[in-house]
């Protein structure tokens, strides 16, 4: 037992020697501290080196006196914590060296048995260089983070995207972007907020691993995501997300697109309007040309007509005188066989009635022609609508002859302020249409009436009528149901335009097989 005890003592001594050597050669400063007084009991050479104090000074010193004034509390705390827990590690402490410099130390303290006694062993490492490096790194990190936060683009890093993703980094802008629209519709964070539609703008490409899409959120915002993937240091997949708010840009683009569409629509409308005006212009030029032609023709016809009329009159005057002379002679018995001659003269006189009627008819036609063209009234004027209707009817008479009966039911109309030649063209176009709608025989009823401030001209035919599906198209330029070459498809569109120019209205009523009624309503003034 003794021998064994001796051996044990021997082994203990040997191990203690080994331990002492280890401590003495240790690269860290090691202090043995009294658990009661907190005074240093023993040190290793590294402790002298670190603090600059010789062993003679260190031993007996309260360990808190090694720390700078502002760390005294921390030192006390450490002391108590070690006693309470058995061990403690403080990595943010300093020593004041003998020369007055501050040395950063990591302190690891533990309670150990020293023979029968318990002491605190403090292992302190000089980490000044490392701390400096760390601080520099930290400063750099702060600097880089500052830069990342300054970026006007949201930037975030997700790690472990192939397993359970977690946020590694998000910059200031990104946080702002996803907090400003924190309505109930916009729950979720930048990487998992549900969006309505995602429009890929760049497909995933193998060599760059970049994928871009625009996400449209419920609250109206549009963010452009650029996602790239990389293997992080741990070997799992991280995702770098660059997020731009393109809401305003999209809005602008939408506005631009809308403006462009609006413009295109306007251009289209204007083109149509222009085309209408053009066709109208062409038509009115045609009318003007026709007017000049008609005036010329009227002039040319009127000269020989004048001669003819005058001569006819002259012939009858002469005949009448011859007749009365003959009768005088016969009465006084100077002309024995007179009855045949008087008969002859009388028959010529009878022809005069026909001549006069024929001549009057020519005069009326010529007058209607020029009244229709109304060259002398190309300007707005107070016009008798019935005169216009009548001269137009005279001109289109050949279309009706023995086929269409015209029924006039003229009411009492005041004079209407209008462009007479334009209005005559309206009547002409409608009457020609009506007569063409009547296949065999039929009627056209013309009715006029007026109210306080407007006149109504109703033209009804018993023609074939207009099918329902065509009714709202009949005033469109180019719409025609007549075969190629029969109509220009402009007639009623010109009618419509002229009535519009007169601030009037035109209404159509039609039934297939029964006929069509066109009702023109014109303001009197």
């Amino acid at each position: 037992m003794n021998a064994t005890g001796k051996d044990e003592m021997q082994t203990l001594r040997e191990s203690e020697e080994k331990y002492r050597k280890m401590i003495e050669n240790a690269n860290d400063a090691i202090f043995a501290i009294d658990t009661e007084t907190a005074r240093i009991i023993e040190i290793n050479p590294k402790a002298e080196e670190l603090t600059g104090f010789p062993a003679s000074k260190l031993i007996g010193m309260n360990v808190r006196d090694l720390h700078p004034a502002d760390e005294k509390d921390a030192a006390d705390h450490l002391f108590k914590e070690v006693l309470r827990k058995g061990c403690a590690v403080y990595n943010d402490l300093h020593f004041m060296t003998r020369s007055g410099t501050k040395v950063a130390v990591d302190v690891s303290a533990s309670v150990i048995s020293y023979g029968s006694k318990k002491i605190i062993q403090r292992i302190c490492r000089d980490v000044t260089e490392r701390r400096k490096l760390q601080e520099m790194q930290e400063a750099q990190r702060v600097y880089y983070e500052f830069i990342l936060n300054m970026m006007p683009v949201g930037l975030g890093v997700l790690r472990d995207v192939n397993a359970v993703p977690s946020v590694e980094f998000e910059n200031k802008r990104l946080k702002e972007m996803f907090s400003e629209s924190a309505e109930d519709s916009a729950t979720g964070r930048w990487y998992d907020r549900p969006f309505q539609t995602g429009v890929p703008t760049k497909a995933m490409i193998d060599d760059t691993g970049v994928y871009a899409e625009e996400r449209y959120y419920k609250d109206g915002r549009v963010y452009q995501f650029t996602l790239s993937y990389y293997r992080n240091l741990e070997g799992s997949w991280s995702e770098l997300q660059l997020i731009r708010d393109v809401t305003e840009r999209r809005k602008l683009e939408d506005a631009l697109r809308a403006a462009k569409e609006h413009l295109e629509q306007k251009v289209e409308e204007r083109t149509l309007e222009l085309r209408k005006k053009q066709s109208q212009l062409v038509q009115s030029e045609k009318m003007a040309a026709l007017g000049h032609l008609v005036a010329g023709v009227a002039h040319e016809i009127n000269t020989p007509l004048g001669a003819l009329k005058s001569n006819n009159d002259l012939a009858i005057r002469s005949l009448t005188r011859i007749k009365s002379y003959l009768e005088e002679r016969a009465q006084s018995g100077l002309l024995p066989n007179h009855t045949d001659i008087i008969k002859l003269v009388s028959s010529v006189e009878g022809l005069d009635t026909i001549n006069k009627t024929a001549l009057e008819r020519i005069v009326t036609i010529v007058r209607s022609l020029r009244d229709f063209a109304r060259l002398d009234q190309a300007d707005q004027d107070e016009v008798d609508i019935h005169e216009g209707l009548d001269s137009t009817l005279t001109l289109v008479h050949h279309q009706f002859k023995n086929r269409v009966n015209i029924h006039r039911d003229y009411g009492k109309l005041p004079k209407v302020s209008c462009f007479p030649n334009q209005l005559n063209q309206v009547f002409m176009n409608i009457l020609v249409n009506s007569s063409q709608a009547i296949e065999d025989k039929g009627d056209i009823f013309i009715k006029t009436y007026s109210s306080a401030d407007r006149v109504v001209i109703e033209i009804r035919d018993t023609g074939r009528g207009i099918p329902k599906e065509s009714l709202d198209k009949i005033f469109d330029p180019g719409f025609t149901t007549k075969g190629a070459g029969v109509g220009t498809g402009l007639g009623l569109s010109i009618v419509y335009q002229i009535i519009q120019d007169h601030r009037g209205e035109i209404k159509v009523d039609s039934e297939v097989g029964k006929g069509t009624t066109l009702r023109i309503i014109l303001p009197i003034r």
Binding site: A298, H299, P304, G306, A307, L308, L314
Partner: protein, 160 residues
């Protein structure tokens, strides 16, 4: 028909022979006017320069000279002769405009009515003759007044 009429000269100008013939035939049937017809306005002007006339009736559209210009010239030569224009439709507006320019007495539209035409011509001639008579009377009065003045002076001379 009257003696008055037989001393009356009417000048007709139209580039259409048929109009001239119709008009002159009618006038010779119904009146005793002396009628001179011209197809060319220049020739008519020559005649008017050399002869006293009572009325001019002219067509408007003529190739050498239009009726308004022609009647303007007539006005210079014979300001007292009434001027009547005969128009087709195309020139009606211009003719009306020219009435004041050249002092037209009337315009007649083709095709004309013979009775209307005759009334216009008679009125024109009557007017001319009345104007002439008026001038003669005024001249007479002026002469009488002149005589009176002279007598007045002589009386004054004699007594003062």
């Amino acid at each position: 028909m009257s003696q008055e009429e037989s001393r009356t000269t009417i000048v007709l100008v139209d580039d259409e022979d048929m109009v001239l013939t119709s008009l002159s035939s009618f006038l010779s049937l119904e009146t005793d006017y002396h009628v001179e017809t011209f197809l060319n306005p220049e020739k008519a002007l020559d005649f008017i320069k050399d002869n006293e006339i009572d009325l001019v009736l002219s067509d408007y559209l003529m190739p050498e000279m239009d009726g308004i210009t022609f009647l303007g010239e007539v006005r210079k030569i014979r300001p007292d002769a009434p001027r009547v224009i005969l128009t087709g439709y195309a020139d009606k507006e211009n003719a009306i405009k020219a009435i004041n320019e050249v002092g037209l007495f009337q315009y007649i539209e083709k095709p004309w009515d013979n009775d209307d035409l005759l009334i216009i011509l008679r009125n024109g001639i009557e007017r001319k003759q009345l104007m002439k008579q008026l001038e003669e009377k005024i001249a007479e009065i002026n002469d009488a007044y002149g005589d009176l003045q002279t007598m007045h002076k002589q009386i004054l001379k004699t007594f003062v």
